[in-house]
Amino acid sequence: MSKVPADLKYTKTHEWLRTLPDGSIEIGITDHAQQALGDLVFVEVPEAGRAIKAGEPCAVVESVKAASDVYSPVTGEVTAGNPRLAGEPEVVNTDAYGGGWLMRVRPTPGGAAAALMSPAEYEKLQQEEGH
């Protein structure tokens, strides 16, 4: 069974969001998503300074099997892409909610955002998807 930490928000496309003390948002893919993808071998994260819109593909995670887009849940400016993943993409498998974060975004005030789910709602989604 995959982990769904209680202190995060989730999207229906299997990203998680953590609000950091400075108000920026850290984004990654969920434990469920990394399990479904299998061993990750390549991760491409956006560069700091890039403007992104909610719902837009902003990162790519590739396992041996396949490439998957990661969609930004918020509109804003990227403040950091996780530099560690260039050399150690497997951290997304081993620590999806910690060291495996993909990017940090400073949200545009009043900017569009994807519909977010609570941990309970996300767990329900996983069950409905039959995994």
């Binding site: 390549f42 590739e62 396949a66």
Partner: protein, 362 residues
């Protein structure tokens, strides 16, 4: 739900992720695809390949039949048990399938064809067998296991009697024979030593569990694909199909144009291609930049045009991305691949990328 092999329930019990593969519900991985890949390169792994279709061909004229049916020449097979790899072509030289054919006796050959092409192959073979009075018998009751890796033969032999084990361990490469009710062949699709074993479906689960207890890892189709690509082996439907001929699929070595008087299906079309020179070729690519090559990505070749990746993956052994690509015949040593709009550099290399655990490209 698709078709299931005799091992389906065991795969589920072992926690495999099941996917559709040519109409079959097959295990793609058990725990880690990369872990399973390394198990085969470094020790031993077992794959369920029961979805493959085993066909026995029997009749006094089975040899002339196969000399007409196949692009490779079964007259190379002089010793019972010996096998060759061949394409089966249509009249236009397109590849209907690739297969292994075993010479068992002068009136009995066995071919093993792909699961996804089973119906088409059986219809084609039956149609052409008629004029040679050859009986076509599908052996659907057999399960097939591929036990592969440097320790695979020694471990698999432990399941046989002492005499049976000695016989199995004496088999030469690409030779198979009946041993204690199993057909054991020293063949494979991984670039490692090993056996492919055809056995009664009722034995399959017990054998799998015994192999596991001997330290042979359960391996899925995911690892099978990365292993075969590293080993420089084509996958039907990806790297060649009815729209391509062997000369543009890296398979010229499997076509016996000599002796010149052997009239096989597709020969005339191939003669014409040969006279003109093939316009395209299948090459190996090693990605020099970071990323992962995937099938259908576009390949840009300076001054020669464009091509396409036919199979691509991350190579667990090389820890870089590798691929096969069909490119213009004039392609040189360097190409670029369009990955999500970025042009990345790749080097043209001669497959195989890996054999017997050793990297052959740098």
């Amino acid at each position: 739900m698709g078709r299931q092999t005799p091992l389906f329930k065991l795969h589920q019990e072992l926690g495999a992720r099941i996917v559709d593969f040519g109409g079959w519900d097959m295990p793609v991985q058990y725990s880690s695809q990369i872990g399973e890949h390394h198990a085969v390169r470094r020790a031993a792994g077992v794959f369920d390949v029961s979805q493959m279709c085993v066909i026995d061909l029997k009749g006094a004229r089975v040899r002339p039949f196969l000399r007409s049916l196949l692009a490779n020449d079964v007259d190379k097979l002089t010793r019972p048990g010996k096998a060759i790899y061949s394409c089966m072509l249509d009249e236009s030289g397109g590849v209907l399938d690739d297969l292994i054919v075993y010479y068992l006796s002068d009136s009995w050959f066995r071919v093993v064809v792909n699961a996804g092409t089973r119906d088409k192959d059986l219809a084609w073979i039956r149609r052409h067998a008629r004029e040679f009075d050859v009986a076509v018998l599908e052996r659907a009751e057999l399960a097939m296991l591929a036990i592969q890796g440097p320790e695979a033969r020694a471990k698999a032999a432990k399941l046989l009697s002492r005499v049976g084990a000695a016989t199995a361990l004496e088999l030469d490469t690409f030779v198979g024979r009946e041993i204690e009710g199993w057909f054991v062949a020293r063949t494979g699709y991984t670039g490692e030593d090993g056996f492919e074993v055809m056995l009664p479906a009722s034995d399959a689960e017990r054998v799998w569990r015994e192999l596991n207890s001997l330290g042979v890892a359960s391996c899925g189709l995911g690892a099978r694909d990365t292993l075969r690509l590293e080993a420089g082996m084509n996958l039907y439907g990806n790297d060649m199909d009815e729209k391509t001929h062997p000369f543009e699929s890296g398979l010229a070595w499997t076509v016996a144009m000599e002796p010149r008087d052997r009239a096989f299906i597709g020969r005339a079309a191939l003669e014409a291609v040969k006279a003109q020179g093939p316009s395209r070729k299948l090459v190996g690519l090693l990605l020099e930049d970071r990323g992962v090559l995937r099938s259908h990505q576009k390949v840009m070749v300076a001054e020669a045009g464009e091509g396409e990746i036919t199979s691509g993956t991350f190579s667990p052994t090389l820890e870089r991305s590798i691929a096969f690509a069909r490119v213009p015949a004039a392609t040189g040593a360097q190409v670029q691949v369009d990955i999500r709009g970025k042009l990345l550099n790749a080097r043209v290399v001669k497959p195989p990328f890996v054999r017997f655990g050793q990297a052959l490209v740098r």
